[in-house]
């Protein structure tokens, strides 16, 4: 095989993995491919995928964001409180996104102007935002928010058979794909991760790029939080716990390098689909949830090892 063909295989690796997974699971249980299940699958994937899109930007710059789950919970709580105190529910969705943007922006500022390593900075804000959520909600869910139909549709509805969260996910994907591949901001995201020194000397405003990627991730977490709040019609103070790991796993499965500078959001979508398919498929196959974790971990490890082999 020549190197061009090798490169294609490498690029298509995650997709081939996803298809293989689909085939295996559907052979073992034919209810997997039923339309209702596929719809369900997309709905499950959408939250992780939306967060992982942001995580892709962050990881491309060579950073990491551990605070995504906490941002999700805090923006969800803020949103629920706003609705209860009479804010228009649709407006509240936008405000949740805004809250996420702000919280993510704080991450970015701590990392750039505070010169704190992203891992440490977001580890700290992960704890702070989670704590703030618990303080804000007094540790109790905020529930019974509203009967507003549009608000409910945001997390539960369908358009033409497609779940609205999945539509939101695809919209986000298209916009972010464009930003990453077709704008100078996207190019600079790669450049910062490829070499901060070279970018700095080339006159790129590195700090701005970094604040952008963390703020973007925060905003996406806010949107994901709004979807969850709408689906449950309540805000849970423990929502989003552990989501950072699923998001990072999706990014890595999609072939993005944790060292930064290499990878793409297309891979992340496929990575999130792989994780979602595994979750969904193992449930359908009636694998105990204890074993599910083991299997998920092994798949991630195999994917990374396979990637290393080819490189």
């Amino acid at each position: 095989m020549d190197s061009k063909a090798m490169q294609y295989v490498k690029k298509l690796g995650p997709l081939i993995g996803l298809i293989a997974l689909f085939i295996i699971i559907s052979v073992m249980n034919d209810s997997f491919l039923e339309l209702s299940n596929l719809r369900n699958l997309l709905r499950q994937v959408s939250i992780n995928a939306i967060i992982a899109f942001g995580m892709t930007f962050v990881i491309l710059t060579g950073g990491i964001d551990l605070s995504v789950g906490s941002i999700l919970a805090l923006s969800s709580a803020i949103m629920a409180q706003l609705i209860i105190t009479g804010t228009n529910p649709e407006l509240a969705i936008l405000l949740a996104a805004g809250a996420g943007l702000l919280l993510g922006g704080i991450n970015g500022l701590v990392i750039t102007y505070g010169r704190v390593a992203p891992f440490i900075a977001t580890l700290a804000t992960m704890t702070i935002y989670r704590g703030a959520t618990l303080v804000f909600t007094d540790g109790n869910p905020i529930s019974g928010l509203t009967q507003d139909p549009i608000f409910h549709a945001f997390g539960q509805g369908d358009i033409g058979g497609l779940p609205i969260p999945a539509i939101t996910m695809f919209l986000a994907f298209i916009i972010l794909w464009f930003v990453l591949s077709r704008t100078s901001l996207g190019r600079k995201t790669y450049a910062v991760g490829g070499s901060e020194k070279v970018s700095y000397i080339a006159g790129i405003k590195i700090d701005r790029v970094k604040v952008f990627v963390y703020a973007l991730t925060g905003m996406l977490c806010g949107i994901a939080g709004a979807i969850i709040t709408s689906r449950l019609n309540s805000a849970q103070p423990t929502a989003g716990t552990g989501y950072e790991l699923d998001a990072i796993a999706a990014v890595v499965l999609g072939g993005t390098s944790l060292a930064g500078g290499r990878g793409h959001i297309v891979g992340t979508l496929i990575g999130a689909l792989i994780i979602g398919t595994l979750n969904n498929g193992l449930n359908i196959l009636d694998v105990s949830s204890f074993y599910q974790q083991v299997v998920k971990g092994i798949v991630i490890l195999l994917a990374v090892l396979a990637d290393r082999k080819k490189a």
Partner: protein, 493 residues
């Protein structure tokens, strides 16, 4: 211990670094090894201590021929090399550094700090030096760290000690202590190889001098039988061949005026002017501070005080982006770590600083980007199948052309080039010289920092010589000779 190295030759790839080198080191003698940057001094000593393997030639120690497989083996046999980059663990104390590789143990097999401290203190007293042995090495001065390194080597009972520019990072007082130590070592019969660029030190402290040039040992003489002038002449003694294109541009108005600039860590301040269409060569020895000055002008590193005026406008330069806006471009000496994103394609590298200029809306237009990169890549003669190839696939010379291309695309009025032809082949060098001429014909001004004297002499309209963080002199083209530059660079008279 007497060491005779004869007929030593060494090539790295196609680059012949040493050819037929002969040198003899004698007991109780301080032997100065001098030569321009790249003359082969360090390589020669690396061969003696087992870091590199010679392609030809023999090393005999007290009449027995032998080579060492690695530096540790050489050290155990009494030959130690103190590099410019010290082998110090900054997180350990000086004492722990001294004994890391051979700790003293008590009868329970545990590390015996007390015994080590006693022994080390006794050693220090014998040599007449004071060291805070229990302090963390990282908190000690470079001088103290170096003393520790020397001490460690002496405690191994070294017979031959090689020191690469030991005084470069030392204060005057520390240097005096270093010389005192060297004298004690001499008295104990140690042979010392002293690699230095500083004439005065060499003439006051050394017994013998060997001058190297282009991988040859040119001369070895007792210090009493040679003059500073003669050493300089041997160091540079070559004529500039017809390799350099003729300079035709006539420099006009001042475009860059640097007054009283003090880069961080400099004792002196720097002032000079650059004219339109001029190539200002910046010469000096390694570590003289040339790169630091350029980095300060471009805003990569901080500086205290002073003013920079570009085309009549004052430049408040805090970050590279400010300098770029003022029309300055900077081609750094580290093309792999600071010039190129190796994962990026050639095209993406060329367009990187130019994205906003090519696509003002910040939405990337593939065609525009490609034709921009294609045009520049062609203009600079980058040899590649396509601009979509990764930058890492190119040879050094072509990588350098890509770095230049990305800055030429910015249409700067001033280009700072730090070692523009380092490590690239002859053909690409000539291409770059021709390009420099083309650029200056178009009214661009160039500051060229270079450690290669022929290049400085061949390409510069004027030469600024930097010596230990100050401007030692600025020579016009007709005043600039290898001798005049080396004299200024070494602080000689």
């Amino acid at each position: 211990m007497k060491i005779v190295m004869s007929g030593i030759a060494k090539a790295f790839g196609t680059n012949q670094v040493l050819r037929d080198v002969n040198i003899t080191l004698k007991e109780g003698e301080v032997h100065a090894l001098m030569g321009e940057n790249g003359a082969g001094k360090s390589t020669l000593m690396n061969i003696l201590t087992g870091i590199h393997k010679a392609d030809a030639g023999t090393i005999s120690i007290d009449g027995v021929e032998r080579t060492f497989p690695n530096p540790r083996e050489a050290e155990l046999n009494g030959i130690a090399f103190i590099h410019q980059e010290l082998n110090i663990w900054p997180n350990l104390t000086l004492l722990e550094n001294l004994y890391l590789m051979r700790p003293k143990k008590n009868r329970f097999g545990l590390i015996d700090n007390k015994a080590m401290l006693q022994e080390a203190t006794a050693f220090c007293e014998e040599l007449g030096i004071e060291l805070p042995l229990t302090a963390e090495a990282g908190s000690c001065s470079v001088g103290q760290q170096q003393m520790t390194e020397i001490l460690r080597i002496l405690m191994l009972d070294a017979k031959v000690v090689i020191m690469d520019e030991p005084s470069a990072a030392l204060t005057e007082r520390e240097t005096a202590t270093l010389f005192k130590m060297m004298n004690k070592m001499k008295a104990r019969g140690v042979a010392i190889v002293y690699i230095s660029h500083r004439m005065e030190e060499v003439f006051s402290e050394c017994d013998t001098v060997t001058v190297m040039r282009d991988g040859h040992t040119i001369v070895t003489k007792p210090i009493s039988e040679i003059s500073m002038d003669e050493v300089v002449r041997h160091m540079v003694g070559r004529s500039i061949d017809e390799f350099y294109p003729e300079r035709t541009t006539v420099p006009s108005d001042v475009v860059l005026d640097v007054q009283g600039l003090q880069p961080k860590g400099f004792k002196h301040d720097i002032s000079f002017q650059l004219r339109k269409g001029e190539i200002l060569g910046v010469a000096g020895l390694m570590g003289a501070g040339r790169t630091e000055i350029m980095r300060a002008i471009f805003g990569v590193d901080n500086h205290n005080g002073g003013s920079i005026t570009v085309n009549g406008k004052p430049l408040k330069c805090k970050k590279p982006e400010d300098a770029i806006k003022a029309g300055i471009a900077f081609i750094t000496e580290n093309r792999k770590s600071e010039g190129l994103i190796l994962d990026f394609s050639i095209g993406s590298n060329i367009t990187l600083p130019n994205l906003g200029d090519i696509c003002p809306s910040h939405v990337l237009q593939k065609n525009k980007l490609e034709s921009f990169a294609e045009t520049l890549s062609k203009k600079l003669g980058v040899k590649t199948q396509s601009i979509h190839e990764p930058a890492s696939s190119l040879s050094g010379g072509n990588q350098q052309k890509v770095v230049i291309a990305k800055w030429v695309g910015k249409k700067p009025s001033i280009i700072i080039m730090d070692e523009p032809t380092r490590g690239i082949d002859i053909g690409a060098k000539r291409d770059i010289y021709d390009l420099m001429n083309e650029l200056t014909d178009d009214g661009v001004s160039i500051i060229m920092v270079s450690s290669e004297l022929p290049e400085v002499l061949g390409m510069s309209d004027r030469v600024m010589v930097i010596q230990e963080g100050r401007v030692a002199g600025i020579l016009n083209r007709d005043e600039a000779t290898p001798e005049s530059i080396m004299t200024l660079a070494t602080g000689g008279q």
